[in-house]
């Protein structure tokens, strides 16, 4: 993206920022870094200065622009509702154009181009998680035609820590008698990491491929356990098929009495993933599912729903500033522990991975579970 395009896209948006500073206490990066470059107000000022020719596009900007989590909490605190997240992502595209972006993103882009996934694994291994399946016959998972396509996402496909999520979700859908399939090796990365990397134009090829494959299956619905895949599909993919998150599907199954939920004696809290809650508007469905399980004692986090604080795993920040991402995760963990629960439920593999990794590093006893795992636990009780 060049500055002319940036101006067209974002000038009116950032001009709405009156520098009132109401966003400061909502920004997790400011809470850690304590400097103006780590504030939404500062990032808006940078965008504006680039457009007005007061700042050169240079490496100097990378620290401020590539550390935004894209969590959107600032916009919720902003009376003119300045969409800082999207302006920052546009800035990233401009910095990428002049090669002032972190080099790690060039590698990411090459990997996606070659492997069609973020972990540089053979894409045919996407279904590796099926090894965790116990009593679901393989032919139920990979079919040529089905009513529902389960879009698994890269993290849940390839990262061992997250592979239980698709296994558990598939098991639940199987037992609920749903007609579903996965795309297996034909599922390509949705393109989400490229937006945060400042390469939105590279999403096109991935998008075209995924849309074509899903069309071939003849699915009426696509379901996602990854909120960021869902968010990308909702905002960038032009498709008529229904797009929903696993928590929404689970809520529907609960509503139709299709799940035989048995008591789980557990005190839990729930972390709203930014891309599912604030950025897609799904707040209540996961809570309804949790509360429908007998025996669960549910407590809210002090900052919940629209005010939920990012886990530190957003915006590709982990790739460029792991220390910042870890410090934000640490604050998230402290917030969870403040509720005197030892179990946090979420609906995002990335949030869970960030939280668990940092808790382990600090030897903090904390159990983090995806909503699907909690539901399967309930179904599996004797």
């Amino acid at each position: 993206m060049n500055i002319v395009q940036l101006k067209k896209l974002q000038y009116e948006e950032v001009a709405k920022c009156t520098r009132c500073g109401f966003c400061l206490p909502n920004c997790p990066t400011y809470a850690v870094r304590r400097n103006e470059a780590s504030t939404p107000r500062g990032r808006n000022a940078i965008t504006r200065a680039i457009i007005e020719g007061r700042l050169e596009l240079s490496d100097d900007l990378a620290e401020a622009i590539f550390t935004c989590l894209g969590c959107g909490a600032c916009t919720k605190a902003c009376f003119p509702a300045v969409n800082t997240k999207d302006s920052v992502f546009s800035d990233r595209a401009c910095l990428t154009e002049v090669h002032a972006n972190p080099k790690i993103f060039e590698k990411l882009s090459e990997a996606l181009n070659e492997y069609h996934n973020i972990s540089e694994d053979d894409n045919e291994d996407r279904a590796e998680w099926q090894e965790y399946l116990k009593d679901v016959p393989g032919e139920f998972i990979e079919k040529d035609h089905a009513e529902i396509v389960y879009f698994v996402g890269c993290v849940a496909s390839f990262f061992p820590m997250a592979q239980k999520i698709p296994a558990d979700f598939a098991t639940i859908m199987y037992h609920a008698g749903l007609d579903f399939t996965i795309l297996g090796g034909e599922e390509w990365c949705c393109g989400f990491p490229l937006i945060g990397a400042g390469m939105p134009e590279k999403v096109a090829e991935l998008k075209a491929h995924n849309l074509e494959k899903i069309k071939r299956v003849g699915a009426k619905k696509a379901v996602f356990s990854c909120p960021s895949c869902l968010h990308t599909w909702k905002h960038l993919y032009d498709t008529d098929i229904e797009l929903l998150h696993s928590s929404q599907l689970l809520r529907d199954l609960v509503g139709q009495n299709k799940l035989d939920l048995k008591p789980v004696e557990l005190k839990v809290t729930y972390h709203d993933p930014c891309d599912l809650g604030r950025n897609t508007g799904v707040f209540e469905e996961p809570r309804e599912v949790i509360k429908s399980i007998p025996g669960i004692e549910f407590v809210e986090l002090p900052n919940n729903r629209n005010m939920s604080v990012c886990c530190g795993g957003g915006g590709n920040v982990e790739m460029v500033a792991p220390d910042l991402s870890a410090a934000i995760a640490q604050r998230k963990i402290e917030e969870i522990l403040s509720t005197e629960t030892k179990t946090v439920i979420s609906s995002c593999q990335q949030c869970l991975r960030t939280i668990v990794t940092n808790a382990r590093r600090q030897n903090i006893e904390l159990n983090a579970m995806d909503l699907t795992q909690l539901v399967l636990k309930s179904l599996s009780q004797k």
């Binding site: 400061l24 206490p25 103006e36 620290e63």
Partner: protein
């Protein structure tokens, strides 16, 4: 000393990571919520009083200006480093050092967020009364520097009425205490002098505040009026009756509409004015006072009085008021707020003239203000990218402040003078008065290093 050498010395004082000097950082520390921007030469983020003292001493030795900054929510340019130099950002000095429940005092560092202090003391049944609309992000140091007000200051007084003592760093780096927990400190009231001095006399590094009991009961009413005049008359009548509500806040039609688009606070969009009237105190007798207020409203042709049924409804009403400044920027990208005060009885007349000034300069003006103490906040809406329009805004702003002074009021209720109202200081003070203030300034800051170019106009002008 060369700038690089200065930066190096500063790094030795506060640590490498907390000295900022990149092109981007310098741009970002050049603004607040006012219009002007200037770049500092370097930014430091110290951790304690000792570091601040060393930074100030170094600045003194090297004849470099020092400007303190909190969240930079200020509306008159207070933290804008007009002459460059060092900006001290207090974001890391944000600890609540002590809450003394028995003596009803708290000791805080200047970077503590006002609302964080309020939340912490509320857990102990106490209250820090000043409540600037920006409380969720403003810092205590900033509140002290600007002598901030807020809706509840009608009943409880502004920041200065709640500050018991300060730790300040003097121009040469010396650290002194101006007061403490005890009331009635003997000698000169340095605390009172420092509050509202906008960082021009010293740098505050610790603040001791007075806490009060939380009120037993709160009742919040929303009066909806067909004309601003009726609402203004209601304000005067309530006060004349001897009733002192905790707040008496007014918003006019333009602001009501902007707020409703933003947060749906439940203000009717076709009303010309609303009043938020809040009572707090003992439960006994509150109903009676509320009834009396409703009678007064009715006598002044109120269309409707709504009563907040619970805490949620009360919060919604207040969210609208606190977000009013931000909300108007949905209409135009920028606003300038004229923080003048007038005697309450002059409100209808002055507001009428403000509307005329808006027409004269062809600028939309909204009003949201502390009606109870006559503290106006006409918001002139514009787009600062239009230079001609911006020039008109400045002229209109000056004219409104002149109007306030002519009505027997003054040029700042709570937002400070900063660099915004240097010229207008002459509306209030004679050259001799200003010269006397300069003598005071020079006694504290003989080298003119503290936030130069603010508060006092130069004697030549």
């Amino acid at each position: 000393m060369e700038i690089d050498a200065l930066r190096q010395r500063l790094k030795e004082i506060v640590g490498q990571d907390f000295v900022l000097s990149s092109n981007v950082d310098l741009m970002l520390y050049g603004y607040d919520a006012y219009l002007e921007m200037r770049r500092p030469d370097v930014v430091v983020i110290p951790e304690n009083t000792e570091q601040v003292s060393q930074v100030v001493r170094l600045a003194y030795e090297e004849a470099v200006p020092v400007t303190a900054r909190g969240s930079a929510t200020s509306l008159s340019g207070g933290p804008v480093p007009l002459k460059g130099g060092i900006v001290i950002h207090f974001s890391r000095m944000n600890r609540i050092l002590e809450i003394d429940v028995v003596n009803k005092r708290a000791r805080v560092e200047p970077g503590v967020i006002t609302l964080d202090l309020q939340t912490a003391v509320a857990k102990k049944g106490l209250q820090y009364a000043p409540d600037p609309a920006s409380q969720k992000t403003s810092t205590m140091g900033g509140n002290v520097g600007e002598n901030s007000g807020g809706p509840h200051c009608l009943k409880y007084g502004v920041t200065t009425n709640h500050i018991m003592g300060l730790k300040i760093v003097l121009y040469d780096g010396e650290v002194v205490d101006t007061g403490g927990k005890a009331p009635d400190r003997p000698g000169y009231d340095l605390t009172g002098l420092l509050v509202g001095s906008e960082g021009t006399l010293g740098i505050v590094t610790e603040i001791t505040v007075r806490l009060i009991e939380q009120p037993e009961a709160i009742k919040t009413l929303l009066g909806i009026f067909e004309t601003i005049e009726d609402a203004s008359n209601t304000v005067s009548a309530i006060i004349a009756e001897g009733i002192v509500p905790a707040t008496l806040e007014m918003m006019d039609r333009l602001v009501i509409r902007a707020v409703e688009e933003s947060v749906h606070a439940g203000y009717p969009q076709d009303a010309e004015a609303v009043l938020i009237i809040e009572l707090d105190g003992l439960k006994d007798g509150m109903e009676r006072i509320a009834d009396r207020i409703i009678e007064i409203c009715l006598a002044n042709k109120v269309r409707e009085v709504k009563v907040a049924k619970d805490e949620t409804e009360r919060n919604i009403l207040w969210t609208g008021r606190r977000g009013a400044f931000g909300a108007v920027s949905r209409l135009r990208p920028n606003y300038m707020v004229c923080d003048g005060t007038v005697p309450r009885t002059k409100l209808p007349e002055v507001l009428r003239r403000v509307t005329e000034i808006g027409r004269e300069y062809n600028l939309p003006i909204g009003n949201v203000f502390h009606a109870g103490d006559g503290n106006l906040h006409p918001l002139i809406l514009f787009d600062c990218r239009n230079e001609e329009e911006t020039a008109r805004v400045r002229e209109a702003g000056t004219k409104i402040l002149r109007l306030c002074v002519d009505a027997g009021g003054t040029i700042s209720g709570e937002h400070g003078i900063g660099l915004e109202k240097l010229h207008e200081m002459s509306f209030i003070f004679s050259p001799d008065d200003i010269a006397a203030l300069w003598k005071l300034k020079n006694a504290f800051d003989p080298v003119g290093g503290f936030n130069p170019g603010k508060v006092l106009p130069s004697l030549a002008s």
